[in-house]
Symmetry: C2
Subunit: 480 residues, 2 copies
Amino acid sequence: MANDKKKMVEEITSMEVDFAKWYTDVVKKAELVDYSGVRGCMIMRPYGYAIWENIQKDLDARFKATGHENVAMPLFIPESLLQREKDHVEGFAPEVAWVTMGGSEELTERLCVRPTSETLFCDHYKNIIHSYRDLPKLYNQWCSVVRWEKTTRPFLRTMEFWWQEGHTMHETAEDAIEETERMLNVYADFCEQSLAIPVIKGQKTDKEKFAGAQATYTIEALMHDGKALQSGTSHYFGDGFARAFDITFTDRQNKLQYPHQTSWGMSTRIIGAIIMTHGDDNGLVLPPAIAPIQLVILPIAQHKPGVLEKASELRDRLQSVCRVKMDDSDNSPGWKFAEYEMKGVPLRLEIGPRDIENNQCVLVRRDNREKTVVSLDELEAKIPELLKAVHDGIYNIALERRKRMTHVCDGDFEDMKKMAAEKPGFIKAAWCGDLACEEKLKEEAGVTSRCIPFDGESVSDRCVCCGKKAKATVIWGKAY
Amino acid sequence: MANDKKKMVEEITSMEVDFAKWYTDVVKKAELVDYSGVRGCMIMRPYGYAIWENIQKDLDARFKATGHENVAMPLFIPESLLQREKDHVEGFAPEVAWVTMGGSEELTERLCVRPTSETLFCDHYKNIIHSYRDLPKLYNQWCSVVRWEKTTRPFLRTMEFWWQEGHTMHETAEDAIEETERMLNVYADFCEQSLAIPVIKGQKTDKEKFAGAQATYTIEALMHDGKALQSGTSHYFGDGFARAFDITFTDRQNKLQYPHQTSWGMSTRIIGAIIMTHGDDNGLVLPPAIAPIQLVILPIAQHKPGVLEKASELRDRLQSVCRVKMDDSDNSPGWKFAEYEMKGVPLRLEIGPRDIENNQCVLVRRDNREKTVVSLDELEAKIPELLKAVHDGIYNIALERRKRMTHVCDGDFEDMKKMAAEKPGFIKAAWCGDLACEEKLKEEAGVTSRCIPFDGESVSDRCVCCGKKAKATVIWGKAY
């Protein structure tokens, strides 16, 4: 920051004017990413990567607390291995990058850069699973994967993205399904408790499920502009891959069985969700749990005797309370206010000569700019309280917004088209279960099925598209 | 571990019989890695990956304490970018994997899978460095890289390996050289303080330095079998890349300058060094600082009343003291002793009915099997003390071995050849500085220059190869 001395805080396009441009401005100006010379690949800059590091640390602890272990798998998948499970290869082959040469020699078999690692895990599981005593295997890996996307946007859709992918094997279908649900709950809890993002849990329709899965569960969040963002998914595979890869184990009755499999993932997309759920026209608003800087100390009239000393003393003292930074650069206080607002720092502490005289300082919340005058003796108690207030504040705003932007359509297809065109947000409407209706809704109303929510209240007994008997309530929407 | 019930602890080939086989046995049987279906790529299994996680955590804290920030760069380098710096591309092009297709479409420009990321960092630095106020840039990334190797061995040489790569830019040559030395010291301190591996710091000869570097510094460790292992390197690039990538900044006198650059890396090879420095015929011996399990609690006669309760109570109580595991599987104590010796767990705690009666337990060190009877009231004090004793013990053994296996050759080429053939280890011998002598020593005596040590005592004033005037003392050896 000391290097930014002469930099101006640049204007961010207003959300109302152009939401897409607002997003790109925030991502660039808060220095989260830079575009690289490689088409569709982003560079995560220190501030963006620090957010990802905090996400990793938090999620990883949740995975370990639920008994999972980390491993590292190869980056490459031989073509024959990718082809082993039919549905899976059909889903992924069109969007993978192929390595065809090593040094100057042509490879006899092409290698794809992993788009996801089910096939690699299965190849390994075949070596290490023999008995029910070897189960469950509860593995996870942190890595990047590559999917050959046509159009890309930082965090939301990039050719290379970073994620974790859990891959587990179980004795029974019940155990595997329980795992799928457990991990979906881990994701939902993480989103709500750490990212202050309310999510809807549900199941994907067959059309939208993962290539090769029997069932895909999802958490869906609603962005500021009324579009949905799939924030984490959890898949149940049954024993399909196990059969394709010939993975068997001797069960408790000494019979040979196929194990049941799951996988689940959350990626750097979630940073896009944080930006578009909480951000405003002044820039980022970061949930305290993952903010690289939770409190920034800004000395006021810092040339006056004692101010910098006091500010430094506070910085040292508050290290044990939160992630703290003190900015004593010679930029103006106004510049600094704008800069740290843009960077979404949850709390700002202002301290000047008069504050010092009165043994106090001013704490300002990023979310609503509420100011509190606090005695310097009470900071250790007050800061965690205010960080929690910021978390709760932004969570409630997001929840209120989602309520406001969730609509029910119990009419016919014309009503649905009209609602989809006029009302941004989620639309709850009944569905007969036919692919044809789902496709028609996508093509003519421009909405896709986000999920069949677990808490599926019935909104109508007739399909919103064809009028036939409804099988499920679906949440429809436009999506990132 | 509960799953290993019926598994036998398999025999490990003795070091004396076949060192290479001993290494492979340890790596496989301690479940550090599995071979994958991708030629030359390894799978890091939970126990192996947990070691890497502990290494990462420790090193990352040292990087952050010296002012470095983490970023993430793309996996791919466009061919034209790799070619920008002449020496660099010559060094790396023969050993890279090339992506030539995305989905079903042929790429107009090939992308290589990064073998190292200098070119990507430079491409980014060009965007973000404009003024001396933007300097230094002190970046690091954790990732995997790919080099198309012909023959591979787990950890020591794999096509894909995991590492960190630091890349920094500075105002002056002095600043950059200071950084290169600082990071070499960070590596050396880490090896000695956390891995208990003594290392020699020095400079690489021109022949052995990194492609594109002006100077390469290295830390060299000596393995059990007398072969050297390069454990970390730090490179000074001058402004060569900056010129090739046209990165300039306005200096304090308002003149345009090229910044000065460094890079430095340590990889999963270091796990190979841990194995081959400390391991013995019973398996791994892990330095306490990075051991996934620092203390294993083994209940003796665990079916007797109160034993398992006491063991569980101790496990819970000792969580705050060290990384602890309790094994209450129904394997025999003998099996468990062998298993955790093989896994290199630094301390074993045995507790049985009589111990409980006497309010005591037995602590056994992995390195020398020394047993200590300890009162249960003193565990919090005694365990850290014993972990330190294990660290010091294995460090001193490694240091003694290196002393014993470091030879001085002040004779002629025939003496050198004889010594290289008969005495495994490091050979200190003078060198005239000519590439021809270095190559002759490699071809005819089978040794390469490991480094010109910083503490270069003079061993002779004549080159051990040609007899001409010596320019430096070099450490020669066979190397991994």
